[in-house]
Amino acid sequence: MSTTTASKPRGIKLPRAVGKVPLSRIIAVVAVTIAILLPLFYDSGSAFIEDSTTALIYVVMALGLNIVVGFAGLLDLGYVAFFAIGAYTMGWFGSSFFTSQDIHIGVAEFLQAQPGIHLNWLLILPIAAIFTAFAGAVLGFPTLRLRGDYIAIVTLAFGEIIGRIAINSDEGVFGIGDFNLTNGRSGINPVDKIDLPFVERFTSLNFRPWYWTALGLALVVVFVNFRLRDSRIGRAWIAIREDEVAAVSMGIPTVRVKLLAYAMGAAFGGMAGTFLGSWFGTVNADQFEFSFSIFVLAMIILGGLGSIWGVVVGALALSFINTRLIPDVLNTVPSKIGLDFDLTELGFGIFGFLLVIMMVLRPQGLIPEKRHQAEFADVLEDGGEHETIVETRV
């Protein structure tokens, strides 16, 4: 068979799966170095470091969700559930909530005297990852036979269910018995502070160790995202996103691969959840609202679906807009122009507006995935729509 060269559309070179572009690596190294040194230029208790820490944890959350939505193409609107499960895991295993228990592993002297279960955060982290990965698989299971919007509806409901359970499980779970699992809206507090070996104790006055821990977590998650994307597993996720029927015909076990995406994404959400539980010092049902899922999803869309650096930038941007730009920088603007309202109340309105602007001007995201650049390019004739086989067996 010969190659026909006539009327060939201009090809866009995709980056090779193996091997790296040096320029992007240089930028990455510089950015990480700045990120590591950043707290030294600020007061240890400064609001900027505090907000940066929160932003970094949002990066972890967003990268977790990116595996499900960006790579595997499964629209998940219930991501808050994994934040909740992770945070409660932190609450259960790192506070005096279960007063009848008396378990202490690897925690500071003063906690030894307190009742309840007190495990070191480094132990809670894998426990939360396992819990949430399992929850992720449970969520994934009913969505296996569904596509697109229908997956979104099921996951949305899942997030709401976990939220309701959190509110109502102060006297029995599902109304059975009278066991207090979550303490409802009052919540679990105080939650133990993260306690790492060989470093001084974390306090609520010095944000630097929190920041570096969050940065470490974020870097690990970025690394894992890259490795997974450029692997057999990542290719399987992207293949399912592109064309599920073709993927399954190429020998990809869609059930296993999809559940893996849900579980991996959920585990990162859970790990971030343990950090936030400890960072806020409290875990209560009011933290787990639907808007949180949308907030994290908006980060991914803003940054560029499936693009790892894009998602990092999107998460940092939205988080800083939320914690600094709106409440601090812009908050006085309404009163200056003679209007009497609090700008923070409009937070989600502003995010919505940003997303609309984004969809009009740059639908592929701030730093689009290379693949999507190809998709949005004008040369492509029809979107490659395929007829759907009505009955797929999974």
């Binding site: 190659t3 399987a236 990809i252």
Partner: protein, 271 residues
Amino acid sequence: MSTPEAQAEQDRLNSGPAILETQYLTKIFGGLTAVDGVSFRVPARSIVSIIGPNGAGKTTFFNMLTGLYRPSLGSVIFDGKNVTTRRPDQITALGVARTFQNIRLFGTMSAVENVLVGQHARLKATVFGSIFRTPRVRHEERDGEKKSRELLSYVGVNARRHDDAASFLSYGDQRRVEIARALASDPKLLLLDEPTAGMNPQESEQLTQFMRKLRDELNLSILLIEHDMKVVMGVSEQVTVLDHGEKIAEGEPQAVRHDPRVVEAYLGKQG
């Protein structure tokens, strides 16, 4: 009517071991019987065609063979194993690969990556292996990429196009990449669904040659759905004709061509 050589060839096909066999394969969609009790066999190392007018149930038949549809009745036996209720990915792992009537490449992936996806069942990297990129995984990735490029060159995709996004390749190259992707799973049986659709006569002729080459060099059996009679008559050792979901004729190309029921199915009843 046929020469002694052709007769001997036909005997070999009929008595030799079969790579694929279906027994009374039936698919019913609601009130419509798309495929109705089709029993047939694909002898090992042969090229067999399925022809029939539009809507005869050819693609539905393919989808049952590859596990995308679950047969309403009957069974599929591949390489001595009953695969009737197996999932598509399991059937692919056993050694059945296919292409699609309307090309279904992963558009945003490069040609090489598409072929790498085809190797999914043959690669072993796990999540942890991928994250830590163990020496074994690194080795596997390198070999996989090398094999992908070799396959792409083998089917005739220019090396300069290997890293292009699949959706930017020419139509002919997309068809070729799809075949390379199917070959990547080391199949024993290759199912081609209208491989020459949209090709000019020259390209069709090249593909016909290529199918023979595949069969001889890779020890494959090929089952194809085809509308181009020149291709069908030129390449097939056996032809099965479907009409309204039923098998109406079967045999060597020349015999089938003159079968009155086949003529009727294609041209309508005379007089």
